[in-house]
């Protein structure tokens, strides 16, 4: 399964069923025996080829993406929505979306510039101001087509452009899912617990259950992460740069990375000549927080692909960074 297919599947947090179904089919076709746990995670355990006792390494990527959820219906047939996962409402205006399981086309409307007052123009529109227009004639039709709790996804096709860049939605974290699928093709010395987890964007919920149940020795979290390598942003605050390789975290708001593992990862990357960078920021959080503190504690590291404009309808990655994520994870697993 390629990255295009993975990112074009619509599956916001709590509604992972479409991606889960696609992954299950893919994994079974490749001869794996995946199972689904009670948090909706998809787990595959692939035994390593090294001598026993082998390290059990959980490699986790989250299936869910940020999206919207219907919270009400307005008289004219419009949908009122809020976020499932963190989205800046400023990136939503005038974007096309797909609503519900039937992928009903919709657009996030905004007041035309002609009709805005000076005060309107100075103000940021929030979720209370935003309407999703699905072409419904009235409130009753809107309620019928998109009842409360219906999920909404960005309607963004995957395109490759420039020299090795890709633009699309949900790179956070389908790029990590893609890397795990690639790892499952490899023969690795340690046992690989491949965990495609749910509900990361709303609080790293799926990974808690997966790590508790599987009790790995080490956790490797594969992510898409923030990247601010734009225009006049000073280098010291760019976080990381597209094209400079996989980003290795030392700390974020959910975990402080095990220092031994951090140094080992950097050494492995150096020795194998894999493009890498240290992520220069402590913002955000991810499944490492849940995995690290499962049961009696698990050393954990995070390897990320830098994503420009993350958590928006259109983000940009460099594909060579995804390759570096795959290469470094593979090399690290051989060195554990």
């Amino acid at each position: 399964m390629d990255l295009k297919t993975l990112t074009e599947i619509n599956a916001p947090s709590g509604h992972e069923q479409p991606i889960r179904r696609a992954l299950l089919e893919e994994l079974k076709a490749k001869g794996h025996q995946p199972y689904i746990d009670r948090m909706g995670n998809v787990i595959v355990v692939k035994e390593g080829v090294g001598p026993a006792p082998r390290k059990r390494v959980m490699v986790a990527a989250h299936m869910d993406e940020v999206g919207l959820i219907v919270t009400g219906h307005a008289e004219g047939g419009f949908l009122k929505v809020t976020q499932a996962g963190g989205i800046d409402p400023r990136v939503l205006i005038s974007k096309r979306v797909l609503v519900g399981d039937d992928n009903i086309p919709g657009v996030i409307g905004a007041v035309a510039i002609h009709l805005q007052s000076a005060a309107d123009r100075a103000r940021v529109m929030g979720y209370r101001d935003i309407n999703v227009d699905i072409g419904a004639a009235d409130k009753a039709e809107a309620e019928r087509k998109a009842p409360l709790g219906t999920y909404i996804s960005f309607d963004t096709p995957y395109v490759e452009f420039g020299e090795g860049y890709a633009c699309g939605k949900a790179f956070d974290d389908r790029v990590g899912c893609w890397t795990i699928l690639r790892l499952l093709e490899e023969e690795l010395p340690c046992d690989l617990i491949a965990a495609f987890v749910s509900e990361e964007e709303v609080g790293c919920r799926g990974a808690s259950g997966a790590a508790f149940a599987q009790e790995p020795d080490i956790g490797i979290v594969l992510e898409g992460t923030t990247c601010n390598d734009l225009g006049d942003v000073p280098e010291a605050v760019q976080v990381c740069k597209t094209g400079e390789g996989v980003a290795v975290s030392f700390m974020d708001n959910s975990s402080i990375v095990n220092r031994e593992l951090f140094r080992k990862t950097l050494n492995v990357a150096e020795q194998a000549g894999i493009a890498h960078q240290v992520k220069g920021s402590v913002s955000g959080g991810n499944d490492a927080g849940s995995i690290q503190r499962a049961r009696q504690g698990i050393p954990t590291i995070v390897l990320s692909v830098p994503c420009r404009y993350i958590h928006s309808p259109s983000s940009v990655i460099k594909l060579s960074d995804a390759d570096a994520q795959f290469e470094l994870t593979k090399a690290l697993m051989a060195a554990l």
């Binding site: 605050v237 700390m251 049961r295 504690g297 698990i298």
Partner: protein, 326 residues
């Protein structure tokens, strides 16, 4: 106690990098406990087996980690950009002497901005000529803390950074050294990463499944100009926590600890803290739930480079715990 406190205060040990602290503590306790181990997150766990029949397992947790500044970027002129590890206040960040685990010194400075500076406006001057020079001394992800400066203040008081929570570590070490035979099994956890969310205590309490959990930590003060809450005074005795933002103490355990203080003839204070939390919060919600309380050492100017405690409160805490276990 003062010499021990000084020893435990000296290692550089920000959250996530507590090994130097664990090394010092291990030397102090290894001969007076039955087992010492280090878990996956770096908690130092010492067990002293109880002599009673089916002894209760009582976990005592004092955290080794210290708040600090983590390097997130290096400017081309050699200045370090940083952010907080744990609760760092701006007021405590102006022109502070800091030190890295590898011995590199620095000064935290706020650059002039319009309005109030924020964490992103701080930089650390490590005396580097340029970026390459800085990278020879410090890497992205390195963490610095307020440089140790421990001194006596008046007859009974001591000031130092890292008093939160090394004074409680010292208290726990002293307890292990002096308590002798006990009915209860004591699981002494010198925990990691408390300042970023009680992470060490969470996994340690899962692993050790104690029957009772007692956190040893510092608490705030209400006895200096302009500060009235919590109603805690330095030198007025060891505090027994009723509640903070992280946990409500088990009433029976709380009263048993206060009673132990009375028996020991030491002063205690009931503590209701309108902010903060301790390892008790992590222990309380572990597995099926654990009765918890916190024994708090009153501490002025918590999370600054000059945290002040009163040694008489430390002695009261020691006697209270000795009595509780005897």
């Amino acid at each position: 106690m003062f010499d021990l406190l000084k020893k435990v205060l000296s290692p550089v040990g920000p959250s996530g990098l507590e090994t130097p602290v664990a090394d010092v503590i291990r030397e102090e306790i290894k001969d007076c406990v039955d087992t010492v181990e280090v878990d996956a997150l770096g908690n130092l766990i010492a067990t002293k087996l109880g002599k009673g029949e089916n002894p209760r397992k009582v976990m005592l947790s004092a955290h080794m980690d210290h708040i600090g500044y983590i390097v997130t970027g290096i400017e081309k002129e050699g200045f370090l950009r940083v952010t907080n590890v744990g609760g760092i206040g701006m007021v405590n960040s102006y022109n502070r002497h800091v030190v890295f685990p590898n011995g590199v010194h620095g000064v935290v400075v706020a650059q002039p901005v319009s309005g109030q500076p924020a964490l992103k406006d701080l930089f650390v001057d490590i005396g580097a000529q340029d970026k390459d020079d800085a990278k020879r001394m410090v890497q992205l992800g390195d963490v610095c803390v307020y440089a140790n400066d421990c001194f006596r203040l008046g007859e009974n008081r001591v000031a130092a950074p890292a008093m939160d929570d090394r004074c409680a570590c010292a208290l726990l070490v002293k307890l292990l050294q002096t308590v002798g035979e006990t009915q209860d099994t004591i699981i002494a956890v010198f925990s990691v990463q408390e300042e970023v969310g009680c992470r060490g205590a969470k996994v340690a309490s899962f692993a050790k499944e104690p029957d009772i959990g007692i956190a040893l930590d510092v608490t705030g003060w209400g006895d200096t100009p302009g500060v009235t809450l919590p109603e805690i005074k330095l030198g007025e005795g060891i505090a027994v926590k009723v509640m903070d933002r992280g946990s409500i103490s088990n009433p029976a355990l709380r009263e048993a600890l206060i009673e132990a203080g009375e028996q020991a003839g030491v002063k205690t204070q009931r503590e209701v803290l309108p902010y903060g939390g301790t390892d008790a919060s992590a222990m309380q919600t572990s597995r099926g739930g654990i009765p918890v309380c916190t024994i708090s050492i009153p501490c002025r100017y918590v999370h600054s480079a000059c945290e002040v405690i009163d040694m008489r409160d430390m002695d009261a805490g020691l006697k209270l715990l000795q009595t509780y276990f005897n």
